[in-house]
Amino acid sequence: MKVLVIASDRLGAPSAATARAVTAGMQLGTVDLLAAGHASKDKGAAGRLLAGVEKVIHVTHADEFPPSTENLASLIARLAPGYRWILAVHDGFGADLIPRVGGLLATSPVTQVSAITDPVTLIRPVHAGQAMVRVVLERFPALLTIRPTAFPPAPMSSSPAPVMELECVQAVPSGRHEGFVSISSQRPDLSQAAIIVVGGQGLESSGSFAAVETLADRLGAAVGATRGAVDAGLASSDLQIGQTGRIVAPDLYIGLGVSGAIQHLAGIKDAKVIVAINHDPDAPLHAVADFSLVADLFDAAAHMGQILSKGIDIINLKHGTVR
């Protein structure tokens, strides 16, 4: 049975998250990939090389700007009878598009799917990951968004899938795209970063986020903040991690002066390795951290930066494997 996977995202270049959505799609049935928005041709070209994609639907449009979510949702609703599942990544595009299709098809989507048990049984987090639910699909076509971090990318294929072109007509009252303002930061985006350094209220005594930013730059990491740090005016709210902020899943999370309030912990549960650096031994983050260091965060961050800038040789010395 067929799955329609929507390539990510509407405004960006071909995204690695698309290959992860294809993996999720393959766990359900045979995958067609729909490529729309900016660089839709590039997305289609990249998508046809993903193993498991049977066909690419390349959405063309006459206007200068990419088709609106409103018009794309109408186009997908027309394609829906040919599919048993319609799936996108849960990002600013997929989470905007899929529910609108749900409104058109009178189906509640299942969002942020983190595991597929079988083609009708899905696992998703609720209460920001404090509990999971097992959901059984009852109505088809079913609409899903997936957590990209929960699925590995589909491998490349040597035989490209065929491409079909489909024009998106602008027929529905829509928001008009007026531009995109990139975050000026040279640092990676929180949702993509392999390493995230997060500052909490412990930074308040210094009146700035400098200690967090310096260590982050040493590691090539993204910068995140707790709600307490945002409320204290130390960081902007788009850096906030937690239940009401961003949910992150880096390989390495380093919390500097982060107490570990439940709302914050809810946003970092999927991190592979959690490090807590806090002078307060009773900070709840210590209890969930893989490695906890009870120390002054400013001294520790500076010291860690020094060691890292000298390279890994020091550590190799300690291991006894001198290069």
Binding site: A95, R100, F291
Partner: protein, 246 residues
């Protein structure tokens, strides 16, 4: 302009969940209900639009059980002009909620629907676009800035890597993100006044059935126990061994 601010009552997110047992309902200790934090931001924005003379009326709508009346009164105390309870089962799926909101928007000739980007209990994040789709109205989600000019509204959407600027014509549906504003606290005199205001009650439109069923609530995957390190050197060594350093 009449603004419909949709709110959901959620269990206080500051109180952690301890799952009592696996099963089709969430067994946990009783927790007080509050306005969903994202909806509170949407309601605050609606009230500010009225204070700026851009909106004439703010109607707050809750699609849920009758026990939500207290939460709707809190919304009145914050500054909503009138409150409507669209009576539904506590576990109503987003499809029913969106249908209820679309019905209210038509019935009361609303020009703008504002709500939070997601409820912090079920974390679906689908109601705003579903409602917009049903109404055939333009939509903007994850909005962190709203500017009005006559009957046009320009918004900034917080998405991966930056902000998308979108211009919408009314009527429209907007879901809001953090950073838009900081909601006010209701003052004691306003809380007293809100007690006297009516909360209108509407009955749920006939259900369209469920799209899925919850088979079980499960505990989240457990993390392995951590260890304490004595020094920064030891920490870096451990992280290097774990292969997570660049």
């Amino acid at each position: 302009m009449r603004v419909l601010a949709a709110i959901k009552e959620v269990t206080d997110p500051a109180i952690p969940i301890h799952l009592f047992s696996e099963g089709p309902t969430l067994h946990r200790e009783a927790v007080p209900g509050v306005i969903n934090p994202f909806d509170e931001i949407a309601l605050e924005e609606a009230i500010r639009l009225k204070e700026q003379g851009i909106a004439q009326e703010v109607m707050v709508v809750g699609a849920g059980p009758e026990t939500w009346e207290g939460t709707l009164r809190t919304a009145l105390a914050m500054g909503a002009d009138r409150a409507l309870l669209m009576r539904m089962d506590p576990g109503a799926q987003p499809l029913e909620v969106a249908r209820g909101l679309a019905f209210c928007a038509r019935e009361y000739a609303c020009d703008l629907i504002l709500m939070g980007r997601q409820g912090v209990d079920c974390d679906h994040g689908v109601t705003a676009p579903m409602t917009a789709g049903m109404l055939g109205w333009p939509q903007a989600t994850f909005v962190s800035r709203i500017e009005f000019d006559q009957d046009r509204v320009t918004v900034m959407r917080s998405v991966e890597g930056g902000q998308e600027r979108l211009q919408l014509s009314l009527p429209a549906v907007i879901s809001v993100d953090l950073g838009l504003n900081t909601p006010r606290y209701a003052s004691l005199p306003n809380i007293m006044k809100a007690r006297a205001k009516p909360v209108e009650v509407l009955s749920q439109p006939r259900s369209q059935g469920v799209s899925w069923k919850i088979a079980a609530f499960l505990p989240p995957p457990a993390r392995p126990a951590g260890r304490q390190v004595a020094s920064v050197e030891e920490l870096v060594e451990q992280l290097d061994r774990a292969g997570v350093l660049p």
